[in-house]
Amino acid sequence: MRKAALLFVAAAGSLVFGLTGAAGGAEATPGVTAKVVTIGGTFPLSGPAASYAPIARGIVAYYSYENATKRGADKARGCGGRQVKYIVEDDAFNPTQTVTKTIKLVQQDKVFATVGGLGTEPQQQVRAYLNKNGIPQVYVSTGATFWGSQQKEWKWTIGWQPDYQGEGAIYGRRIKAQTPNAKIAIIYQNDDYGKDYIAGLEAGLGSNKSQIVATRGYNLTDASVAPQLLALRGSGADTLMIFATPTHTIRTYATLRAIGWKPANVYLNSVSATDTFMTLALANSNAATVNGSISVQYLKDPASPEWANDAGMNLYKQIMGKYLPNAKVTDGLYLYGFAKARSFCNVLDSIPKGKLTRASLMAKVLNFTETNKLNPFFLPGVSSTTSKSDKFPLSAERLIEFENGGWKAVGQLVDPRPSKKK
């Protein structure tokens, strides 16, 4: 009797599901029709982290271009033979909103995958939900190391950009090789983000770890970093590592000038090292303080004259002119959005049109090589590779030095995780 009732309920339930699913084809993968693939992501378009909004705008603009252009091997418009509908949801960098909006994307918009969602904590808070439901959470816009290192436990999730530990290690190896007697002071954001960088720096320094003579953390709500910087100066350090987010990076430069401290070497993490933020840093301190800062980059910098005649940069400017005519074209975050949108487009292009499922997407994403030829927004020589043993897609960066209002390359490409290479 009970069994019969259960059967009845199950039958009724499947009938209801069948009816609601009928519009998209009963067997179809959610978000995929013959003509359109629907994806989306959450971003802080408002609130304290709204300065990252250009990434979302860049992604949307890039897909507008793809949807209107015949490109790729199939000479068809869109990616993988389908138009890409990218839905941007504003979460204001508030995890309550991230969860709500992600569930909206999944349940109401029926997205095929979330692509490029921004923020370590917000994306971490929807990871369990997306993995439990088998929904790809690919190319998250955060460089926390655990996206790569925990990929095996969270099969539907993967990062994209070089990770923070890898970047810290690049600085560590450079200091060990070039200035082994330098005394290092670190100002860092007092959380996992800042500590990720410190862990990387220590790994890169290896046996020279004792070069670090002082570390001081600041909290996100601290209005001043003067106490930290005064303490660091007092340690007698000649090399300053800034492992911060943009606002506090600018504040750090302003304070350096105010207290008259000019360390011989300043290293700045890549998150803050974009043209927009450096211009602000320059305006709030002076050239003497900011010049000479060292950082890394893996994408072409739209503010640099280096790419004036570059085909990829010309494409970027052309698309920006057409789809985002009022936006600040030198803001590298738009280009970041372009590069990421193109990466996902390349993955779609490489899956036969009839074979696109959530599982086939993940299989491809986890075993994929994307060179600079496929993605004209990467620096020459930079590629994105994943394999059985490598869950860190972008894995080459270039050291850069700030000079006279812009970044200049110093040296060759370096691998943040040389041990991972086969």
Binding site: L45, S46, G47, P48, A50, A53, R57, V60, V88, E89, D90, A92, F93, N94, P95, T96, Q97, V99, T100, I103, K104, Q107, Q108, E121, P122, Q124, Q125, V126, A128, Y129, K132, N190, D191, D192, Y193, N219, L220, T221, L324, N326
Partner: protein, 336 residues
């Protein structure tokens, strides 16, 4: 007497209709809408609490989000570290938040008007740094936070608790305690001279309000399945005060409008901006701001007052109703 009786009949009828609507809603809504309405339920509870302290005892609190955080972190801690069933954590969350509110209320009493607002806001700001700092990482999980489950939408549980919270607030405020609070708010000197100790009542109001916040915070964390410091940022406290103002200070039934606004205004503002094609030019927060201004212009005194006004048009006994002034303990009200 007749008028009072009639008022109770009307409120009772409204309550019954409200319960019926809320009970029936999920049959008409999809999973996503049900989830939204579950969140409305917990905001409703938080706003009830805030209305007690701000609307009835006349103190502006910008710290309600922090007390929600105390409740939310209590739930997450017990569920993650001690494997408690989430529903059993709610009473503990309520008590801990209530005690925090009581303790905070003692010094906070010395502050008045805008100073109290600043003091409570300091609490909201400090809370974020406290929970993400290394010092309490064993309890709060630091900047990573705590993870214990998947997002859920416990609709009936949330609204069941909300109903209980409403009835308790109703009973408490209709009685001696409520009258004392109003007396302290409207004429503190007169209250003192008739033997009331304003300090006691204000502190108790604070504690009760924080208890409500604790329950709401616990429910929020249950609905998220996890918590981190970004959940209880200072803007949450501001949003809650906005919600209370929109519902109408000192009017419990208006709270539902405030809760609906908190949940739906950001969602709808974004949808609207997308439809009109403004999303590339304006951040959704700007549209949200326009929404807020419109509502404030159309309904000064909150949604509840609008309802009262409309009712006043049809009632024979002209009831004059003026907006209660909050934060100034000496303003007279004409409706009490």
């Amino acid at each position: 007497v007749k008028a009072i009786l009639r008022a109770h009949v009307v409120s009772g009828a409204c309550l019954v209709i409200g319960i019926a609507v809320i009970a029936a809603l999920p049959s008409f809504m999809g999973a996503f809408e049900t989830r939204n309405m579950s969140q409305v339920g917990l905001y409703f509870i938080a706003l009830l609490g805030l209305n007690i302290v701000t609307g009835y005892s006349g103190q502006i609190s910008l710290g309600q989000g922090a007390f929600m955080g105390v409740g939310g972190y209590t739930t997450a801690f017990l569920a993650t570290e001690h494997g408690w069933g989430v529903w059993w954590t709610i009473p503990v969350a309520a008590v801990i938040a209530g005690v925090s509110g009581f303790l905070f209320g003692i010094p906070a009493l010395r502050l008045h008007g805008p100073y109290l607002a600043l003091g409570t806001f300091a609490l909201a700001v400090a809370f974020v740094d406290l929970v993400r700092s290394d010092r309490f990482v064993d309890v709060t999980g630091g900047s990573q936070g705590l993870f214990f489950g998947l997002p859920e939408a416990p609709y009936y549980e949330t609204w069941g608790i909300a109903l209980g919270a409403l009835l308790v607030a109703w009973l408490v405020l209709a009685g001696k305690f409520g009258r004392a609070l109003k007396a302290v708010r409207d004429a503190e000197l007169a209250a003192v001279s008739s033997g009331l100790n304003p300090a006691v009542f204000k502190t108790l109001a604070f504690a009760l309000s924080a208890t409500y916040a604790g329950v709401a915070g616990a429910l929020l964390v249950i609905q998220l399945g996890s918590v981190n410091y970004l959940v209880f940022v200072p803007t949450l406290s501001i949003t809650l005060l906005v919600g209370t103002a929109l519902g109408g200070f000192g009017l419990l039934f208006g709270t539902i409008f405030g809760a609906l606004f908190i949940q739906y205004a950001p969602l709808k503002a974004e949808e609207w901006a997308n439809e009109v094609g403004l999303s590339n030019e304006l951040p959704p927060s700007v549209t949200y701001g326009v929404f807020l201004l419109l509502v404030l212009f159309l309904m000064p005194g909150g949604a509840a007052q609008l309802v009262l006004r409309v009712r006043g048009l049809f009632s024979t006994t002209k009831q004059r109703y003026t907006r209660p002034t909050v934060g100034e303990g000496t303003t007279q009200r004409s409706d009490t």
